[in-house]
């Protein structure tokens, strides 16, 4: 379908990533095919967003528009939002409830399950026109994805029985692994309610964000607010934990496991970061109300390729990476709370929303960091990154955050799916 890709990795541990991989049209097209439509589980939506039969939401897998829909059977289905007739977008709203989905162009009609149930003038009129007698609507439904739910988190895969990737697709259970299962279950011990959405359009390649989510080195340097208020800093107990294949990762930290003095000493020589620079008048909203038995105040499991689940203190969210061409992507964030939260807790979570999202005190910087990296790497395509924090060679979990190991893990799995692994490349 696309021309074979050839990548000369400067090192077999993915500590050097050629810049052209962020800027190449063929690479991008191949990523859509081999990654997003390949043998992976993509985050779709949350079950709580579709409480009733007929409820639907449009989402994105790579650059494919996908409708997630609760059928009349109560089961959640997902199908490509592209009419089987002439390729038009069928569902044009972001969400809603419908008994059927009708393409406006020629009014072809689909069920909540994505089956073609109506073709106007199929039998013609007064013996004239119409579809051929052997036209079989069953063959012209919307393309279905495989859908599975884990604790109310809905994942979808294009690797269905008819596709080539099916043989390589693990069950969702195996794909998440013990690592992913444990972490997702941690967030969904109680029913949730949806607080709303954030969208952020960043002018950079989507992989820069996949790296950013696995980059614990930058967090307490770029985001000084983190450091000042002890939300996340290198002096705290914490670390990175990956699945066996190093494609998923979790950054985590425990607030209150270091002192302000320790942090001052550690950051004294780090240019640009000052532990005590910021003096807020009202710090009430920063209060951390412990609600998980593990005591973590920051937990951010990232599931390859498009999903992040994130707790920063008492703010809770999912994030989905939605590529928009090779030079942009949207971060789609769904803020949630627990259904049995008190009104005070809801307000507290909403105030902590100030920390996260496009305007977040500890997150806004990523938009700028990614854009400047994208902008300048485009000018030297044959050069490469240097990813050595935490060491070279094998990719391992750590009990500290001064590491870029999980970024190399991402590239290792990316290279496997893209069929461009380095000779003898680490996994």
């Amino acid at each position: 379908m696309t021309t074979p890709l050839n990548v000369n990795w400067p090192r077999d541990d993915y500590s050097r990533v050629p810049f052209w991989l962020y800027h190449d049209d063929d690479v991008y097209a191949l990523e859509m095919e081999r990654i997003f439509r390949g043998p992976v589980w993509n985050y779709l939506a949350l079950d709580a967003e579709l409480p009733n039969a007929g409820d639907f939401r449009t989402t994105w897998i790579g650059e494919t528009s996908v409708v997630v829909s609760r059928g009349q059977d109560g089961i959640v289905h997902a199908f490509v939002n592209r009419c089987a007739h002439r390729g038009a977008q069928v569902v044009r709203k972001t969400h809603g409830n419908a008994i059927e989905h009708v393409c406006i162009y020629h009014r072809w009609c689909y069920s909540n399950e994505g089956d073609l149930i109506g073709v106007p003038f199929r039998r013609g009129l007064k013996g004239q026109g119409g579809m051929p007698a052997d036209f079989d609507p069953k063959q012209h439904g919307l393309r279905r994805l495989r859908v599975e739910s884990f604790h109310g988190v809905l994942f979808g895969s294009f690797a269905t029985d008819e596709s080539s990737g099916a043989a390589r697709l693990e069950s969702l259970h195996d794909y998440l692994g013990e690592f992913g299962r444990t972490m997702i279950a941690r967030f969904f011990t109680r029913p949730i309610c949806i607080m709303g959405y954030h969208r952020q359009l960043v002018h950079g390649n989507w992989k820069l964000y996949a790296e950013n989510l696995r980059d614990t080195y930058h967090a307490s340097l770029l985001h000084e607010f983190f450091v000042r208020y002890g939300l996340d800093r290198a002096t705290q107990k914490g670390g990175v934990k990956m699945d066996e294949r190093h494609r998923h990762n979790m950054n985590h930290a425990y607030a209150g496991t270091d002192s302000q003095d320790e942090a001052r000493a550690a950051y004294a020589d780090q240019k640009g970061v000052e532990v005590d620079r910021l003096q807020l008048r009202d710090t009430g909203f920063l209060k951390f109300v412990p609600e998980f038995t593990d005591g973590m105040n920051l937990a951010a499991p990232t599931i390859f390729p498009n999903f992040l689940l994130i707790q920063i203190s008492n703010s809770l969210a999912t994030r989905q990476i939605r590529p928009k061409g090779k030079d942009a992507f949207e971060i789609f964030q769904t803020m949630f709370a627990y259904a049995d939260d008190t009104p005070e807790m809801i307000e507290h979570r909403m105030l902590q929303t100030n920390l996260v999202g496009p305007a977040g005190y500890v997150s806004m910087e990523d938009g700028e960091a990614i854009e400047i990296a994208h902008r300048m790497s485009a000018t030297t395509l044959n050069d490469h990154t240097v990813i050595e924090m935490g060491g070279r060679g094998a990719i391992t979990d750590t009990v500290h955050r001064l590491t870029e190991g999980p970024i190399r893990g991402f590239w290792s799995y990316w290279a496997e799916l893209m069929d461009v692994e380095a000779t003898g490349g680490v996994r």
């Binding site: 709303g196 959405y197 969208r199 359009l201 960043v202 000084e224 620079r277 807020l280 100030n354 910087e365």
Partner: protein, 156 residues
């Protein structure tokens, strides 16, 4: 009397936009009451009755903190802001406060002079008079532009 106050509210809104555009953010904070409520929300959430916020400052201290953090700690795309604000609709409320609504367009310009449309939406405000000076007690910025370009660091 009524027209004097209406004119004062119109002037307040002009001042609001120009202070932001002139980077006089600390002076902009002074247009609010001590117990103010300032939010930036998106139309996508509002139309679904979802309470999610982009920014929520409950009280003038939190609003001032936003500016302090912007000045000293946060990193962002270096830019200038330019607001265009429509003539407001102004309605007197029974409690002596005023309901104010207006549309805005916000353009951002890089330090090398390239401009882009950054956000459009509505202001929904509640204005009160303290010693004949109008102050904003409540400001809900409802952004139609829910897909924030790059990031949101400066107030709308």
């Amino acid at each position: 009397m009524d027209e004097t106050k209406r004119q004062a509210i119109r002037d307040l809104l002009i001042e609001y936009g120009l202070l932001l555009d002139d980077d006089k953010l600390e002076a902009w904070v002074e247009l609010f009451t001590a117990d103010c409520d300032y939010r930036i929300v998106t139309r996508e959430n509002v139309e679904q009755n979802l309470p999610n916020v982009l920014i929520w400052c409950k009280g003038k201290n939190m609003l001032a903190d936003r500016i302090t953090s912007y000045r000293h700690v946060n990193e962002y795309n270096l830019h200038w802001d330019c607001h265009t604000i429509s003539p407001p609709r102004i309605a007197a409320e029974a409690d002596g406060s005023w309901r104010v609504a207006a549309s805005y367009s916000l353009f951002q310009t890089t330090l090398e002079g390239q401009s882009r449309l950054f956000s459009v939406g509505r202001y929904r405000a509640r204005v009160v008079f303290n010693d004949n000076a109008p102050r904003i007690r409540e400001m809900v910025v409802v952004a139609d532009t829910g897909s924030i370009l790059t990031l949101l660091a400066t107030p709308i």
